[in-house]
Amino acid sequence: MKIQEKTVSPHNFEECMKCTVCTAYCPVLQANPLYPGPKQAGPDGERLRLKDPYFFTNTLKYCMNCKRCEVSCPSGVHVADLIQAARIKYDKSAPKLRDRILASTDFMGTLARPLAPIVNGVTSLGITKTVLDATLKIDHNRTFPKYSAHGFEGWLKRHSKEQAAFPEQVAYYHGCYVNYNFPQLGKDLVKVLNALGVGVQLLDGEKCCGIAMITNGMSEGARKNANHNIAVLEKAVESGLGVIATSSTCTLTIREEYPELLGVDNSKVKDSLLLATRYIFEKIEKGAQLKFRPDFHMKVAYHTPCHMEKLGWGVFSEKLLRMIPGVEFTLLDSNCCGIAGTYGFKKENYLVSQAIGAPLFEQIKTVNPDVVACDCETCKWQIEMSAGYKVMHPVSILAQALDI
């Protein structure tokens, strides 16, 4: 009688005990009455959908895919995966133009970057925001991420010779944000790794991880990117390189969403892809040393992004920041900032997004740090816009504190 051991359900949905713990931790349920909640949209709804796809409802799009339901589930049900998988399987409506634009981070970045000063100027104009709001339903209250005129890839290519001279090498999955919007983070990473005696290489042509496509109904595009990225990562890993990333969401997507939602096998590279903070922490744990400025002082409040909670690696960022002499550290309560990638940019989600983030913004104001530290680019936009505090990646804080 070993039948129970053989009945493993997709995304573990039959493990659900109906305990309702997830409903207490879902940020959307607190703010949007149209959302049926993680239990209903996830395992409860799945039972019905398996009987008849008629029971699929479009309200599943209100799920932010923050994964807090999964982190809180005592029974190991992949609640958010169930919801996203149902959207992929049953939602046959074509994505809106707006959603295509928001999801195509690679394409938009390539278009916008050569014209960065103009694009940045135009997107910050009130009139542009009004027009985008009216035509595309991108909320006019949003501050758009700025594009950088010179990409990170180009910069690192120009420095490839000096990077190759380091005795140890690592490949860097920089993601769209570092390449198109904020190359400084990539440069900060190179500075820190170089100080540890490690040179940084590009992968052989990475693409966007695809998370925005997954959540915007473009799973085919996401799968293409996933297959491409896995091939590129496998090539790096086969040549003996470790791979690191600075974005918690890109990392989660490649490690978890590729196999769970897109059916793309990542088993050959999963263990070799680490967040930079974990890689740096492990180096230091093994005896490598960083020299910090004696005069450095910064009051830092660390916000754990939802996808970092799911990865379970926030501890590395925390320990690294605490390691810097002169850092006065506060760990912020576990709360969602509300933006969830492209979710908060959509007009229909704007108020929900801000309501979800309110407890976090309030706590930041109470702590009143010099800087909020966070490993996620979209949390950064949300917190800077909504709480009015500067947000830095832990790696950038490390780079600033280094005595070089």
């Binding site: 713990v21 207490a24 909640g37």
Partner: protein, 375 residues
């Protein structure tokens, strides 16, 4: 990563142990795979009367308010039970017939609070009881997804509008000398239950709802915040998969999220809970401990696991780890010398009687003392 102590399990037992060790300057990590039994907490630490001084200290530093009085409290099914140490939300009476006339107030559309059962129970004690439903515009949106109209969702609204609820109840009150309300108050603001008591001209009694438990969830948040403020590392949503043991000593544990980055420590605490939390796993053939394969006290014959009388004593709830006197669990008959088992994984708890909370706290303190005594 290296700590003095790594604790598996982030429920009441794990958090009390973690806070106690951090207070003594030890570095600890708690690995918690999902949320825990505090989310089903009645608010009463069964089998405890007065809180020991060290528990009072932890509670007061975490902002948790508890009290104890000889007597009874009102249960969600309308029965009375002898009182024990309770969160301040819980009302304790000298005798079951604690008032003459009670007004039971529920919210329209809320199905997790059994007002009629409570009314029946009160009537059996000779208390006159009537049930009234409040319908508030601030709560109407919750009814759009009736399946999610649950305690915590209501409690979030109540933190904002409890004063309005008090006004509505004042309008309903006649000559009732008690008001009975579901435990959906004080999720963020712990002062709310006390302020409602002060604001109404009758004895206010908060009674438990179906899960999630609002006082339990709040207690979990308070304890976790206290633990992290003391510098503890709380790894939420991670799961200990295995341990490296050599000659009866654990060197490190392996977790789902950290993979080949092991958590090393001098001592380890196993606070993994019972069957629901997967501290114990039952299969058709056996009951086992999944992390290390520790010795489990359980009867071999599956037919003896259950009592056909559902409400009777269920033998499987006695199943738990075998330990020596110092709570070191045994593996193949030999103690694991730097590991301690605490809380419900020890077995012999009765969830229907709520004895888990008392056992969790007592065993946590015992393990902590043993760890601290070893320099």
């Amino acid at each position: 990563m290296k700590f003095d102590t790594v604790i598996t399990g982030g429920g009441l037992a794990g958090l009390i142990a973690g806070i106690s060790l951090q207070k003594e300057g030890r570095s600890t990590a708690i690995v918690s795979s999902g949320q825990n039994a505090l989310h089903f907490f009645s608010g009463t630490f069964e089998s405890m009367k007065e809180a020991p001084a060290r528990l009072q200290e932890i509670f007061s530093e975490a902002g948790i308010r508890a009290n104890y009085a000889d007597g009874f409290r009102l249960m969600p099914m309308g029965t009375f039970r002898e009182s024990a140490l309770s969160l301040e939300d819980i009302s304790l009476f000298e005798k079951p017939a604690f008032v003459r006339k009670a007004l039971i107030v529920n919210f329209m559309g809320y199905h997790d609070f059994f007002s009629s059962f409570i009314a029946d129970g009160l009537q059996k004690e000779g208390i006159e009881a009537r049930v009234r439903f409040l319908r508030l515009p601030e709560m109407e949106h919750l009814r759009q997804s009736p399946s999610e109209m649950r305690s915590v969702q209501i409690a979030r609204i109540m933190d904002r509008i409890w004063e309005k609820v008090v006004q509505e109840i004042r309008l309903l009150l006649k000559d009732d000398d008690a008001v009975i309300l579901p435990q959906v108050f004080g999720l963020q603001d712990i002062s709310v239950p006390g302020r409602i008591r002060e604001a109404l001209p009758a004895k206010v009694v908060f009674v438990g709802t179906l899960p999630p438990s609002v006082p339990g969830l709040r207690t979990q948040m308070q304890l976790r915040r206290r633990y992290e403020t003391l510098g503890g590392t709380f790894l939420m949503g991670d799961e200990v998969k295995s341990a490296h043991i050599h000659e009866g000593v654990v060197h490190s544990v392996v977790t789902q999220n950290l993979g080949n980055h092991y958590l090393e420590a001098d001592s380890f605490i196993l606070a993994t809970g019972s069957f629901f939390s997967k501290g114990l796993i039952s299969t058709p053939e056996s009951v086992y401990e999944p992390v290390i394969g520790l010795d489990v006290k359980a009867s071999e014959d599956r037919n003896t696991w259950y009592n056909p009388d559902f409400a009777g004593n269920q033998p499987y709830m006695d199943f738990g780890l075998v330990t020596d006197e110092d709570l070191h669990p045994l593996k193949d008959g030999e103690p694991v010398r730097n590991m301690y088992a605490i809380g419900s994984v020890l077995g012999n708890t009765r969830p229907e009687l709520g004895t888990g909370a008392g056992a969790a706290i007592r065993s946590a303190f015992k393990a902590v003392d043993s760890i601290l005594s070893k320099a």
